[in-house]
């Protein structure tokens, strides 16, 4: 139970980073931290005490942990990769146009 609360706390650290940091690259890293926290939460859900990794081998008949959240995490990592690549490309283009990464100066849109 404490472990799940720590995962949620890591998620809140990521949200704090998104809100308070002024540099675009740090915001992208904070979104990465949020993604890691959710992946950790999903993998922790699968744990059964005293079980082994879910790989079949000859002669192994022991109890295994749940393999479905591991597939969910694999897909989630791919999606996070796509979003991070897109945001990095946008950040580089913004640097070309505005000459800075500071979000207090990237404010041409109002209201």
């Amino acid at each position: 139970m404490i472990l799940y609360l720590m995962c949620f706390f890591l998620f809140l650290v990521g949200v704090y980073g998104t809100i308070t940091k002024r540099d675009l690259i740090k915001i992208i890293l904070a979104i990465g931290i949020m993604g890691y926290s959710v992946n950790l939460f999903l993998v922790l859900l699968a744990y059964r005490s005293g079980a082994l990794a879910p790989i079949l081998k000859k002669g192994f008949n022991v109890s295994m942990v749940d393999p479905i959240p591991q597939a969910l995490v694999l897909t989630s990592i791919v999606i996070e990769l796509g979003v991070t690549a897109l945001m990095a490309a946008l950040a580089i283009r913004i640097y070309q146009k505005y000459d800075t990464f500071d979000i207090t100066k990237i404010r041409r849109l109002q209201g």
């Binding site: 990794a53 790989i55 079949l56 081998k57 000859k58 694999l74 791919v78 690549a85 990095a88 490309a89 580089i92 283009r93 640097y95 070309q96 146009k97």
Partner: protein, 149 residues
Amino acid sequence: MQNNFPNEGMSVIVKTITRFTVWLIFLYGLYIVLHGHLSPGGGFAGGVIIALSYVHLTLAYGKNFVLERVDKFAMSSLESIAAILFVLTGIVGLYVIGNFLANFMGIGKLYTLISAGYIPMLNIFICVKVGMGLYLVFFYLASFKPQEG
């Protein structure tokens, strides 16, 4: 093999060691892809490692060196062809069995390399797509010049 841009990239020590490690990384990625149905890994992880071998080469020798030897248009076309073949495998499953992405090859014997139906084939398609795609993303991000715009 002649290096037309000897002053770009990193130092001589890094370039020499890269010559030894690039193909090892590539081979390791291929191993993870081909044994995707027997051990952890599979298409995506192997594809990322293969892309990393190209990135390793680019970081050590400089962008122009790699640009001379690697055809970007061929990489992009290979990526699209792999994705189209993936969807076509699903359509063949649709016509043979009646569900999209159904398994139309035999199951085979357990724990051997050629088993588990069409999963190794799909792993290879995904590996090609992810490898080429990730390297092209890195390449285009690295090609931005700061003065445009």
